[in-house]
């Protein structure tokens, strides 16, 4: 269980995170989505007590992170897979954490095995690891204390497609057994495949949150006509908010029936008319966060 309550972080005049609130329930995977610089990492660092919030607060398992006596046994955290001492071996990094938490030594080998780092990899220094291997090591570190909550910042970064598929399986299984997962990503497809709930953040603010299906259902209708130009005019005239989709059609924020009726009234020949589905989520993501990423570029 993670509860984020009106978290705000300002750096001088710049507001990195503004009034962010959401909850992650046991048994669910929450996808924390947003373009780079939207405030995902800052929010996660505040949840984990790394950064002091300007206002608001967060609790994990009912307590502020800093008040947990042995947080590694309750929450697995992976904030940055690259934040490992380059001179330590993968096994040594886990051994240090296991000793700190008071976890049995056998768990180190077990978790290395779980994330697919073999004996040779475990003996190598982390400096020689690829980003994908570091992500696997980071996940092993997060799972080491057998926690009930996982907080992962961009865990799929640097993983190959097979690795991403594998990671999804691990997180899904973890949640299905009653665990709580919060994972961030700027890759919509990655989160869509595994998350039950989505929190979309842009420019430091939550711009949408809810169940994935619910957000998908509200994502509108995809429509395509032989005469795209007239279709656009027709939709505008009917007061149906439409935006150009990624592959030529329009995504309309309305039910297919309303769109079909408008097209029929105008005597248009449609070539496609369906709920936008995942394409709609992408559209939602792009429109909701439009401008946020360009703002980030000049920050």
């Amino acid at each position: 269980m993670i509860e984020v309550d009106h978290l705000t972080k300002r750096y001088g005049p710049h507001t990195a995170v503004e009034d962010v609130s959401f909850r992650c329930e046991p048994g669910t995977v929450t996808g924390f989505l947003g373009p780079n610089g939207a405030g995902k990492s800052t929010t996660m660092r505040m949840i984990c007590g790394m950064t002091a919030p300007t206002a608001g607060g967060a609790t994990v398992a009912g307590r502020p992170y800093r008040e947990l006596p042995n947080p590694g046994r309750e929450i697995g955290v992976l904030l940055d897979a690259s934040a490992q001492h380059a001179g330590r071996t993968g096994r040594e990094a886990l051994t240090l954490a296991a000793r700190t938490m008071g976890v049995a030594r056998g768990q180190v080998a077990a978790k290395l095995d779980l994330v697919g780092l073999n004996e040779t990899a475990a003996r190598r220094r982390v400096g020689a690891y690829s980003l994908g291997m570091r992500q696997r090591l980071g996940l092993a570190l997060a799972l080491l204390g057998d926690p009930r909550v996982l907080i992962l910042d961009e865990p799929a970064n640097g993983l190959d497609p097979e690795g991403i598929f594998w990671m999804r399986g691990v997180l899904r299984g973890f949640a299905d057994r009653g665990g709580t997962v919060l994972l961030s990503s700027h890759l919509l497809r990655e989160v869509e495949a595994v998350a039950d709930r989505l929190v979309v953040i842009g420019g430091g603010r939550v711009v949408a949150q809810g169940g994935k299906d619910e957000l998908l259902a509200g994502a509108g209708t995809l429509v395509r006509a032989r005469d795209q130009h007239t279709l656009r005019l027709t939709l505008d005239r009917a007061g149906l908010p439409a935006s150009a989709g990624t592959d030529g059609g329009y995504v309309v924020r309305a039910e297919p029936e309303a769109v079909g009726q408008a097209a029929a009234d105008a005597g248009l020949v449609l070539t496609e008319l369906r709920p936008a589905g995942s394409g709609g989520l992408e559209q939602l993501f792009l429109t909701l966060t439009a401008g946020a990423s360009t703002k980030e570029a000049v920050r």
Binding site: R45, A83, Q84, T95, R99, T100, D146
Partner: protein, 260 residues
């Protein structure tokens, strides 16, 4: 990797207790030696002591080759390297960004800092044992090669040597805590005595304060035959400025700093 199962998160468990300071100190001691750089620093400290004693066996007059004569000179070079150990143990967490993992597991940062200080103090005490061991080896070698090889030892030297090395390592740690940057902390620490002596040579008014504030001056009597009350007083004043202030200010800075 074919059948992957994450461990089942159990829903009820006994309340987890935090790691004890002894456990954290053990972890920090391990961190001192578990990288190539750290291991070599420790080996270098041992080697330097051994080299100094070996040189003494060759250069000292036969009659002067006593245990004390081997022990005392080995303390200086070791005392120069121990602050580097103190600095690295603190700043390494930030330069290598492992603070992110360390503080995720122990969010009460003051406990991590306390454990680190305890670990480097133990390392400093161990270095005194190394100095004793190489001095003993030197005495045996001297005896075998025609030197005096006498085992006379002023026992008060032992606690003095321990204070000397502990202060050295803690000053390093204090500078590391305050500056949180490896090269900056090392350069500042090593430059400070030089700056003192240059300034004291140039500015007459600084000469008296230097006797109270220049740690290279105030710590020197620790390796001499005896310490007077006045010397202890001057040592205390210099340490309050160069040890206590950086430690406290550095602790406050570390507690507040954003980890990313």
């Amino acid at each position: 990797m074919t059948a992957v199962t994450a461990p089942a998160p159990t829903l009820s468990r006994p309340a987890a207790t935090g790691p004890s300071l002894a456990r954290l100190t053990g972890v920090e001691l391990r961190k001192l030696a578990d990288t190539r750089a750290g291991r070599w620093l420790l080996i270098t400290i041992g080697l330097v002591a051994a080299v100094i004693v070996t040189v003494q066996v060759f250069v000292l007059q036969d009659a002067a080759q006593t245990f004390t004569a081997f022990f005392t000179p080995s303390l200086f070079p070791v005392g120069l390297l121990l602050p580097v150990l103190g600095i690295l143990s603190i700043t390494g967490e930030w330069s290598q960004r492992t603070a992110l993992t360390t503080f995720a597991l122990v969010p009460r940062r003051e406990r991590v800092v306390t454990a680190k200080l305890a670990a480097v103090v133990l390392a400093a005490l161990a270095s005194v044992l190394v100095s004793l061991a190489v001095a003993a080896a030197g005495t045996l070698a001297a005896g075998a090669t025609g030197g005096a090889g006498t085992w006379t030892f002023d026992w008060h030297l032992l606690p003095y040597a321990a204070v000397f090395q502990v202060v050295n390592v803690l000053m390093g740690a204090g500078f590391g805590l305050l500056l949180l940057n490896t090269p900056l902390a090392i350069v500042t620490y090593l430059l400070l005595p030089t700056v003192w002596s240059v300034l004291a040579a140039m500015i007459r008014a600084l000469r008296e304060p230097a006797r109270w504030l220049d740690t290279s001056v105030t710590m020197e009597p620790l390796l001499g035959p005896d310490m007077t009350a006045g010397q202890w007083g001057r040592l205390g004043v210099s340490l309050a400025v160069w040890l206590l202030v950086p430690l406290v200010a550095g602790l406050v800075r570390t507690l507040r700093r954003e980890v990313s």
